[in-house]
Amino acid sequence: MSQTTIDPRSLRAPPRRPLRLSWSDERVRAIVWQILVVGIVGAIVWWLWSNTVHNLEVRRIATGFGFLGREAGLPIAENLIPYSPTDTYFRALLIGLLNTLKVAIVGIVLATIFGTLIGIARLSKNWLLSKIAGVYIEVIRDLPLLLQLLFWYAILQGLPGPRQALHPVGGVFLSNRGLKLPWIEWQDAHSYALLAFALGALFTWFYRRDAIRKRILDGKPRPVWPVALGCLLVLPVAIWAAAGAPWTVDWPELRGFNFRGGLNMSPEYFALLLGLTTYTAGFIAEIVRAGILAVPHGQWEAAQALGLRSGQVLKQVVLPQALRVIIPPMTSQYLNITKNSSLAVAIGYQDIVSIANTTLNQTGQAIEGIAIIMLVYLSISLSISLFMNWYNARIALVER
């Protein structure tokens, strides 16, 4: 005997009819219309394409992506992977892409943290805190982002020169050349330790999932933290120590005109990051506030009545429901940060737009250059969207 009864009507298939080659057949009409529309769109695209190619030829403008293999000859100030002006345009564009990702990813993380704090502060019962958060949100959202970027950049340029650099703590220098920090000289041992940390994080995650699953079965709590400590701290440190525990600090030092050594954060990057973070945090704060307010007050009261502590109320009851409201608009903000990072050209941060612009200017291949920029932003944005949609689906309330 089956557990559930199934409505027999849902099992009935619609009657099958043979396809009649007649205009009176709905399906034939649908197919004809679709072929027609696809054909028209295809013809327009082909027409635009062939005309473009023809006109480029007539104007003797070079076409194709052959330029990607040529020597770029353009200097780039900030590069995550090694680069010299003798490298190809392809590598230069890759540096630009990495620079865009560097500012977008860090910006997304910081804006989320900062925005969430401001959003919670806005809801605070502390009058001053809530008013400050309110004023911040209103001011920052109402000023054009480009203006804010130029403002931050101008402020950073107003810092003293490298020879009069501000020197708050040993090894830290703040000047109009940027922020200089001491940094360890990277060696293989550090890479191994980092790898161990990543593997440890993965293992901890699986262990935690398993612990929760077992707890649901037998109700026994299994603490995750000893495993986490072992995997995330002890193992990497042990590997680092086993590899000889290299520890050479690279101190920044004024030599000639500039600082040498250490970790550098340029004023361009800092201004862009600051501008993007503070601007987007204003929007995120409002999204977070809306999300929290969207959870009915009864939910708090009910959770407290069950005897949950206030941290548990937030974590187990309110946040899961608030996130449902928060995630979709948050996706738009993440996309905005990524796209707004293209304003970097105004303050001289060499992101993908800046480098692609220079490339298309030197090679004269504007269409290819713009196509590359579009491809890059489309790929980043689609990746963010896909990830956020997946996450959204994961945390959505399971409805019956």
């Binding site: 104007r59 200097p75 005109f257 105004a346 001289g348 800046s354 200017n361 291949q365 504007a366």
Partner: protein
């Protein structure tokens, strides 16, 4: 907010290029490459791409009237075509949008401190009609820095405009001299100079003429020093779209006219008197004899109109570039002082 205008302009320029290349109907409306002269005549206006603002070369004065060396070339071409130097619309172009602006037909002629190079001449769909200024790339530093030679710039931060030959010369030069530097690349000249003045960079590099112009525009020019090294050849030339030989001829011979006029001592002031000069070449040039103007597809008195409007090359130079401290140097006439400026005969 001038920046929004700039970004909008760039976006529109790109869109216009895409559209004109993609849609033939629009392409014709924006002048096909082969008949710029007809299009300019039909429009009643020459559209001239100039710098966004560089003292001596192209800059609006306090009345909003564009003035400068390159601007005078736009005025001269307008006078050659229309007999009136004021039928010009000036389109300020940044270093990065200038070629796109010319390719897409947004401007007819580009008189904007543009270096003539082989790759630009071939792959960019433009032709350089005439070198109106021989320049070279140099460096400027603050006097307080205590640097006397570009060779001392090891480790320096250097301000440079992107998308220029300057940018490529800089990395070539640094490689050849084993000098490491950090570039700061900002597209807008005003922002770039502001960054240099604020001390973001130790040195600012561009063509020596541009350095002189920037230096003269500072409240205290003596605080800045142009270093003696000239690291490149920068023949700054007036560009037109490729494949329009007739229009290129007009631009080229307008330049030669200015040179020849200086060579023969014809000035704005003595133009009327010179009309009766007995020398045969002067008579041909000024349309007294022969049909040189008609051969160019212009009015036979085109030369008179041009010289009345702007004067000869020396006058154009002295009006705009002398006040900012630029010497004639290589831009002197070959015939008189052995410079590089040389006109083929008007015959």
């Amino acid at each position: 907010m001038p920046h929004f205008g700039l970004f909008l302009k760039r976006a529109l320029g790109m869109a216009a290029l895409g559209l004109t290349l993609a849609v033939p109907g629009l392409a014709q409306a924006q002048q096909a490459p082969a008949n710029t002269l007809d299009a300019v005549r039909a429009r009643g206006q020459l559209i001239c791409g100039v710098n966004t603002g560089l003292a001596g070369f192209a800059q609006p004065d306090s009345q909003g009237v564009w003035r400068g060396f390159d601007v005078d070339y736009c005025r001269a071409i307008s006078a050659a075509i229309f007999g009136d130097p004021n039928k010009v619309r000036y389109v300020p172009t940044t270093a990065q949008v200038r070629f796109t602006a010319l390719q897409s037909g947004e401007v007819d002629v580009l008189a904007r401190n543009t270096t003539w190079t082989l790759s630009r001449d071939t792959a960019l769909g433009l032709d350089f009609a005439a070198t109106n200024f021989y320049d070279g790339q140099g460096f400027m530093v603050k006097t307080a820095l205590g640097v006397k030679s570009a060779k001392e710039l090891e480790g320096a931060t250097i301000c440079v405009q992107p998308g220029t030959t300057t940018e490529q010369n800089l990395s070539d030069w640094a490689r050849a001299n084993r000098i490491r530097f950090t570039p700061v690349v900002i597209e807008r000249l005003e922002e770039l100079v502001a960054a240099f003045v604020a001390g973001r960079c130790d040195a600012y590099t561009t063509d020596v003429s541009g350095l002189a112009a920037t230096r003269s525009a500072q409240p205290k020019p003596d605080d800045y020093l142009i270093l003696p090294e000239v690291i490149s050849k920068e023949p700054l030339a007036v560009g037109v779209r490729q494949g329009d030989a007739r229009f290129a001829d007009i631009v080229r011979w307008t330049h030669y006219l200015l040179l020849s006029a200086e060579e023969f001592g014809i000035t704005q002031a003595n133009l009327d008197r010179m009309a009766n000069d007995p020398r045969p070449e002067v008579q041909r040039m000024l349309g007294k004899n022969g049909e040189l103007g008609k051969m160019l597809g212009l009015d036979n008195l085109w030369a008179v109109n041009v010289l009345k409007a702007v004067g000869n090359y020396g006058e154009v130079f002295d009006r705009s570039l002398k006040p900012i401290g630029i010497q004639r140097g290589p831009n002197a006439l070959w015939t008189t002082t052995g410079g590089l400026q040389y006109s083929p005969p008007f015959r």
